[in-house]
Symmetry: C2
Subunit: 572 residues, 2 copies
């Protein structure tokens, strides 16, 4: 059951849902013509199908491992990585100044998603590099840029993010890694970092670590943190990697999934690094990287969902079992109502999550191109939704993918189980989904709800316009948006953030549900209210959208009853 | 983080939720006094904590494997199994006539659940034997009973169920295994069976296979299937295992979880077997076994949920991260609202699922004791709900358990991931959850809804009685029951079963949600409407129960829109 890149689906979304035309109408992204994006999607899609997908299972069976302190990657990963690098897929959105294509994040998001469908473990490597490129473009000195960016952009070198320490996970401000000025423009970085994705590999010439650490005069907490670029091999003036830096991989984790991606404990022992951005201003640079990565991780969830869906669909179209209730059906299990319910749910939710992710990416692009704060605020508002709902969709769809396979789903050879195991981490890393939800109801509502209400206004405007043509779809979307608006007002009225946090996760999910209804409606309208997309929209709006009401009841219950349940009450 | 058997919780449920007193008031179960059940719970609980729980991870790390055609089990499993057998925990509910304790299924259900929490892989072995004992008690000849039951009851021998074949999974009627009369009272059984849990082991003296096969004059489909008892070693007249039968384990599956449980492909080559029940009447005997097993598998889901919950709770009470928003709190992550939301959800759903399972078991007991068809119908109605909602709760709670652990959740050493992987199969085996849902809306509504409406009547009677004392809890439960009643009426009005099947899964889940509200309310009332159980009930009824409305909208959407989405529409 090979993976087939859904190129036409992205094309439809570009044209009719996220309005890539508007992005391409800007000077900044004038090159993103329909011809160009079509060529990229089909070229990248082919690479995903032919080169990356065959690496998915070998990576699971033969995890990256440590051999005398050196990471050995899974069979074929070196070749797979070179195909990504040579295709330019690391740096679709990187600045042309250093060799990137300079194309919209919308396009990168689609390509990243295809790579995730094909081989999540390997895709995580260039995803980390992309975040590093963006952080350096925005915050590094020209000297650093000149040395590092061409190599990262070309894929000759790869990048990592070193944030977490054993005592500093979600609370990054608790980190203890230190940096001291060497007096020659460089710093000596010391500390231990954990959960470092692709902390090392055996296929790039260098590995560049962005490390959060505290300078001697850094205050405690997040305001005393600085960001350093610490390469595995220190480049000379020509950019050629020279002597090995004082850092090493201490160990690799044994994980439930994502075996092809080495997750390292990194030790820095006075390793030589260079400051990125200003002293004590590391969190700002880190957030550049994190926002990029959160959009990317949401896309990972959607990519895995797509892979799991294709896998399950192929099985359902092949497997015969029982008398099927459909005259003129396929005679396979897809004719059974409950199997069809699962597949329809999977497809409808993938569409919803993908539309949200590409819309967020397009808002990022509009901000880049126009410097309009409104677009920036929209992208910022949607980012936690993309991350959490994208990864939840990845988990839920891969779970249903296993179920569609019946007993075969639990057998590793089938492949369905790997999606389920691999994707689980995406709800955790780059900020757990709980952190995303807290971000949404706190930081992202600091504008008094402006960005969020603007989205609701759009949803309702579209629903109102659709009332004549598709009343059975338009009305529930409009109603759901109104309920969401009330819940958002409830959030804004509660200045005690913990009141909001108690319902943050269901609020985020409800927001995603309503957005999904909006985009399904938009897609239905784009085909004139009659066709496959309208039928899928009807399925979603009739059967899945109603979930929002229960979620909003939960979301607006406040913290008091929650904390009334004491820790003793929770005792097992 | 050791497992602690929740003995007091079962005791509370026995006393205040499932009314074990009523069961113990019957002649049949007069021995099930509070003292007796307390002793059993605490003795079995101790064994689970001290003997079984330490086997959980070794089983995962060192899967059962095949060595020259012989199954070698995980380290310590032999000793663990002997502790189960010697404690009498295989046969709490088996008839005293053959050495069983003759106690209610309610008690067995609690003990099975504790064993599942401690070591799911090993617990599956006696669970299969229990089903076999029940099938033989009801359907076997006295001669077979005399030879097999004492050995199965004592745990010297173990039992398996051989139903599935590659082309015959959910559609068991498609099986091709054959049996021919040997003319001496025995039959020659030939065929291949797959997914045979504990198809062999190296710690019981014999393994007894119940095999579905077709006699030469058996018609196609389920009506031509007979059931045979086929032992690994053929016993002589004294019951001593003698020559090896013509059967073998062909291979073991590589599974996502449950590594300690060998899942076998079995080959029977004219193996000697004995008919259980009448010719062509195998399905009836199989359903005796299956109903027992479905209740048991639901309990497995709940047991894993309990284990995962305790694991996550311990972690949350230990892990410090970030400034916590609670004055006088623990200073650990349990003070964070989103973590507390997850833990509260886990605990509230475990209570709901466990109450449903024990209520189903108690109805089984009442039917056994009184032969009252009403109790039988209630048990039959609740069985698919226990199986599907119990296992869904296992999946959802173990998923949240991973999330509570953050990054540690994805690392195998933590143990959180194993619950998540192990429990996944429970939604699939013994009839997928989709099959359970179809059973609920078709076969279990063949009484015109009598059994289901009787449950709703009880829910509403209790809610009405509680209106004065706990109006904020009673009213939503009453309302939810009314909505469920309408949905059930919708089901009954649709004689085309596929209209029902299109919403069967959400209907089953909604039914469980409402039952959960009912039992939470009952528990709150039992403590006088003021205490930990009332606070948990308020959490559930305010935040989780509202999910039913969205589910019922889905449940009553019918099949037409679903099938309007063609297989081409679903194309990726």
């Amino acid at each position: 059951m090979p993976y087939r890149a859904p190129v036409e689906e992205y094309q439809f979304l570009f044209d009719h849902v996220v309005d890539l035309e508007r992005v391409a109408a800007t000077d900044r992204f004038a090159e993103a013509t329909p011809d160009m994006t079509a060529a990229i999607l089909s070229e990248a899609g082919r690479m995903c199908q032919d080169v990356l997908y065959p690496l998915q299972r070998p990576g699971d069976l033969h995890p990256a491992h440590l051999e005398n302190g050196v990471v050995r990657t899974s069979p074929g990963y070196g070749d797979g990585y070179r195909a990504i690098a040579e295709g330019g897929w690391v740096s679709i959105s990187a600045s042309p100044e250093h060799g990137g294509m300079g194309l919209p994040m919308t396009v990168t998001t689609a390509v990243n998603e295809m790579m995730s469908s094909a081989c999540l473990s390997l895709q995580l490597n260039p995803l980390m590099t992309q975040g590093q490129i963006e952080a350096l473009e925005h915050h590094a000195s020209d000297a650093l840029k000149d040395i590092y960016l061409p190599k990262l952009v070309s894929g000759e070198w790869s990048g990592t993010m070193n944030l977490t320490e054993p005592q500093a996970g979600s609370d990054v401000g608790a980190l203890r890694s230190k940096a001291e000025d060497n007096g020659d423009g460089s710093y000596a970085v010391t500390g231990q970092k954990i959960y470092i994705s692709w902390g090392d590999n055996d296929f790039t010439e260098n590995v560049c670590h962005l490390v959060l650490a505290r300078l001697p005069d850094g205050v405690p907490g997040t305001k005393g943190i600085s960001l350093f670029l610490v390469p595995k091999f220190i480049p000379d003036e020509t950019g050629t990697p020279g002597r090995a830096n004082s850092l090493k991989v201490v160990s690799l984790e044994h994980k439930m999934g994502l075996h092809g991606s080495p997750t390292a404990v990194m030790q820095f022992d006075g390793a030589t690094g260079w400051l990125v951005g200003k002293p004590h201003d590391g969190m700002r640079a880190m957030f550049t990287m994190m926002n990029n990565a959160r959009l990317g991780v949401g896309g990972q969830g959607i990519g895995v969902a797509e892979g799991a869906y294709q896998h399950a669909l192929a099985y359902a179209l092949d497997r015969k079992q029982g008398r099927t209730p459909v005259e003129g059906g396929t005679g396979t299990i897809i004719d059974h109502a409950d199997v069809r319910r699962m597949l329809s749910t999977m497809k409808a939710d993938i569409f919803a999550a993908r539309s949200i992710a590409l819309t967020c990416a397009a808002a990022t692009d509009m901000q880049t191109a126009t410097n309009d704060a409104g677009w920036g605020a929209r992208a910022a508002f949607l980012t936690p939704i993309v991350k959490a709902f994208g990864t939840e969709t990845g988990m839920a769809v891969s779970e249903m993918g296993v179920q569609v396979h019946g007993g075969m789903g639990f057998i590793e050879e089938t492949g369905a189980a790997q999606y389920y195991r691999d994707v689980r981490v995406t709800a955790i890393y780059e900020g757990t989904n709980g952190i995303q939800a807290m971000d949404l109801v706190a930081r992202k509502l600091m504008d008094g709800g402006e960005a969020g209400f603007a989205i609701l206004d759009e949803i309702e405007t579209l629903a109102e316009a659709a009332r004549g043509q598709l009343p059975d779809l338009a009305e529930p979307v409009w109603q759901a948006s109104e309920s969401l608006r009330e819940a958002m007002e409830w959030m804004l009225e509660n200045s005690d953030l913990n009141q909001r946090f108690a319902g943050a996760s269901p609020f985020l999910r409800a927001f995603a549900r309503v957005l999904g209804g909006h985009f399904h409606l938009k897609a239905a309208l784009a085909e004139g209210g009659n066709g496959a997309r309208t039928r899928l929209a009807r399925f979603y709006i009739t059967r899945l959208l109603p979930e929002h009401a229960g979620l909003l009841a939960h979301a607006t219950s406040g913290a008091d009853d929650l904390y009334a349940l004491s820790t003793e009450d929770l005792g097992a």
